[in-house]
């Protein structure tokens, strides 16, 4: 290739990378999913409580998840993620609420509705519920009540229950707590009932939502809870980004100082590398956590490693007296095996971490893996092309630090 053509191509590439970086980085940073540790929020791990004779299966957890999702939507809890963990657990992550604890306290209610007679026999449960609505009591007390509508089967059972208990109270129990015990005046056959209790309007609304969404198939206990205040999250984000930039600048200076021309090429390739990693994370919807930022910084260090291995190899070949282009070619070829084997072993640990880790740790493993693959790609394509281009421009071995 002509020397001038090479100069022109290099100039165009460098300018293009500059322009793309300038326009692409801000939206990438804006669109990346931040973990709760960086934006503030609440993460709760709930565990299904096994009762005798009732085993918790994957099916139970899936049912519970779908009920919880209905509740999240109906209650309007903002920016919530729900997912299973292991065989018996459900994770709830809430990022968009001022009081996420309150939201979780409502969500995790089993909402098991039961009608009992005085002897404690269960006559009817929430299973037969079609609808539940909150409304204000008509007596002007400012209290709310919940109206219930049963299905056909429920209406029949309710009819039987009220017929059998005329003059006596029917006890309405929600999650093992007696809410009210109205006296039955006469048989009710239309399948409609009202729960009155000391509800505020908000409580009645929430309860109606829970009853409507159905009872959770099992009750859940809080196993783990982490809540990050918004100040701490924002602070961690700022500090780690600043630290990352300082670390990055140190790398850039070191590479130019030590490796001269190829060092500068490595520095340019780092911009492409970072774009690639952030772009992949946005595209995959991966979550950037605080350890994830460390993983990112680390993978940049390791991306440089690929360059270091290649350049050291090229220097060796140059010292053997080969020409520049021949040195670059054989340097790449020989360095590749080393880079490949070393990166596969690192990927193995990242994969193990991804499998066993939860939350932030998983975020770290994902970021690290994306980083490793991206660094291989960039080193083997872009860096190589740029080195050959620049070899067309100057054959001065001093620029290669030899």
């Amino acid at each position: 290739m002509q020397r001038n053509t090479s100069i022109a191509i290099i100039a165009v590439i460098v300018m293009a990378i500059g322009v793309i970086s300038y326009f692409a980085f801000p939206p990438l940073f804006k669109n990346i999913n931040l973990g709760l540790d960086l934006r503030g929020g609440l993460r709760v791990v709930l565990e299904a409580q096994e009762t005798e004779g009732e085993e918790v299966t994957a099916d139970t957890i899936n049912k519970a998840l779908s009920i919880l999702r209905t509740r999240v939507d109906a209650l309007g809890v903002k920016e919530t993620a729900l997912y299973p963990q292991g065989d018996k657990r459900v994770v709830i992550e809430i990022a968009g609420e001022d009081d996420p604890e309150a939201a979780v306290n409502i969500l995790k209610n089993t909402a098991q509705l039961q009608f009992m007679d005085e002897e404690g026999n269960v006559l009817l449960t929430g299973k037969n519920l079609v609808d539940a609505q909150a409304r204000m009591k008509q007596d002007g007390s400012g209290q709310a009540e919940i109206t219930l509508e049963f299905d056909k089967e429920g209406a029949r059972l309710f009819g039987e229950a009220t017929t059998a208990n005329v003059g006596r109270p029917l006890i309405i129990v929600i999650d093992d707590e007696a809410i009210s015990a109205p006296k039955v005046n006469g048989p009710i056959m239309d399948g409609n009932a009202v729960i009155t209790g000391n509800f505020t309007a908000k409580e009645a609304q929430d309860m109606a939502v829970l009853l409507r969404s159905g009872a959770l198939p099992v009750s859940f206990e809080v196993m783990e809870k982490r809540s990050i205040g918004p100040t701490l999250g924002a602070d961690s984000l700022d500090k780690s980004i600043n630290a990352g930039i300082v670390g990055l600048i140190a790398i850039l200076i070191f590479m130019i100082g030590y490796y001269r021309l190829p060092g500068a090429i490595a520095d340019i390739s780092l911009f492409i590398y970072t774009l690639l990693v952030l772009g992949t994370m946005v595209a995959l919807g991966a979550v950037l956590t605080l350890p994830g930022i460390a993983g990112l910084a680390l993978s940049i260090g390791m991306a440089v490693d690929a360059n270091v291995i290649i350049y050291e190899r090229i220097k060796e070949e140059l010292r053997l007296g080969k020409t520049l282009v021949a040195s670059i070619e054989s340097g790449f070829k020989r360095a590749f095996v080393a880079i490949f084997d070393s990166n596969v072993t690192t990927l193995i640990t990242a994969a193990v971490l991804m499998y066993f880790g939860t939350g932030p740790i998983k975020g770290f493993a994902v970021t690290l893996s994306i980083g490793i693959v991206a660094s291989l790609l960039v080193a083997l394509t872009f860096t190589r092309y740029m080195l050959i281009l620049s070899a067309n421009v100057t054959k001065n071995k001093k620029l290669y630090g030899v």
């Binding site: 196993m223 084997d341 193990v352 880790g357 740790i361």
Partner: protein
């Protein structure tokens, strides 16, 4: 680079570093965080002038036991038995009544059963990672390299664990990620040197294993040093500017990386030499 001739000294140096750590591990163990033991940590920012004693007094008034108060500037970390949401709310309320300008930073509660699982999963993860690497290295190289690499890994993990035990730095779930990263990173380092030994073995000159290892280590030395430098830059920056939340996580990696570079150059190659010459003699 006369690595092999000096290998006894490297073994002694490593022993001097590792043995106190191992003794400490046996005597006082690790300072396990709530991720392992269960319990709660409430992190708050208080107005200036509030002391640890003030905080302890407030906590004991609430009847919460096992309180350990850690102060860092105006921020306090209150480690207690596992708190319910109501207890956390009550604690925050009482603090706000007493000191007004109280900022909630974070609160973590972990049930005791989670801790046991974490330990089990951690050991399992490290075990699986080690086996997978051994398999891969045996497949790509030969078993002598695999064994030497695993010994180097154990060496590095012991140094990090020992340091955390000696200084009683707190160990949380992120620590496991740090250890696994150290493993991945140091194996990466070791592989680069082994790759060169493998290559030099193929186009073997008239030289014995000692010269071969020395030459291979020498050829890769620049890379070994430069890579640990470029990886350490962002870690050091995060350690200094990154805020307190991830400091120990970063510290574990930094210690591990530096140890990893040292052990790849000095320990892994020496161990391989010892195994290989013994195998060749047998």
């Amino acid at each position: 680079m006369q690595v092999i001739k000096r290998r006894k000294w490297f073994y002694i140096l490593s022993s001097i570093i590792i043995i106190p750590g191992v003794i400490s591990l046996m005597l006082q163990g690790l300072n396990l965080g709530i991720d392992f033991t269960g319990g709660s940590i409430t992190h708050v920012k208080m107005p200036p002038g509030v002391t640890s004693a003030d905080m302890r007094a407030t906590i004991s008034e609430l009847g919460i036991d096992e309180a350990e108060v850690q102060k860092s500037g105006d921020e306090f970390y209150l480690r207690t038995s596992e708190l319910t949401q109501e207890q956390t709310d009550e604690l925050m309320q009482v603090l706000r009544d007493q000191y007004q300008e109280v900022e909630f930073m974070s609160a973590e509660s972990v049930g005791a059963t989670i801790g046991g699982e974490l330990t089990r999963n951690a050991l399992l993860a490290i075990g699986i990672a080690a086996v997978l690497m051994l398999v891969y290295i045996t497949f790509r190289f030969e078993w002598t390299f695999g064994i030497a690499a695993i010994i180097a890994i154990i060496h590095n993990v012991l140094v990090v664990l020992g340091a955390f035990s000696l200084f009683q730095w707190e160990v949380g779930s992120a620590f496991i990620a740090a250890i696994l990263t150290v493993i991945g990173y140091s194996i990466n380092d070791t592989i680069i040197i082994f790759d060169r030994i493998r290559e030099n073995l193929r186009n073997k000159r008239k030289e014995d294993y000692e010269e071969l290892v020395n030459r291979s280590v020498g050829q890769t030395l620049n890379r070994s040093i430069n890579t640990v430098l470029t990886s350490a830059f962002p870690l050091i920056a995060l350690l200094i500017f990154g805020g307190s939340t991830i400091q120990l996580f970063i510290l574990a990696m930094l210690i591990g990386f530096v140890t990893g570079a040292y052990s790849s150059i000095c320990i892994a190659s020496s161990t391989w030499y010892d195994i290989k010459t013994r195998e060749a003699a047998a």
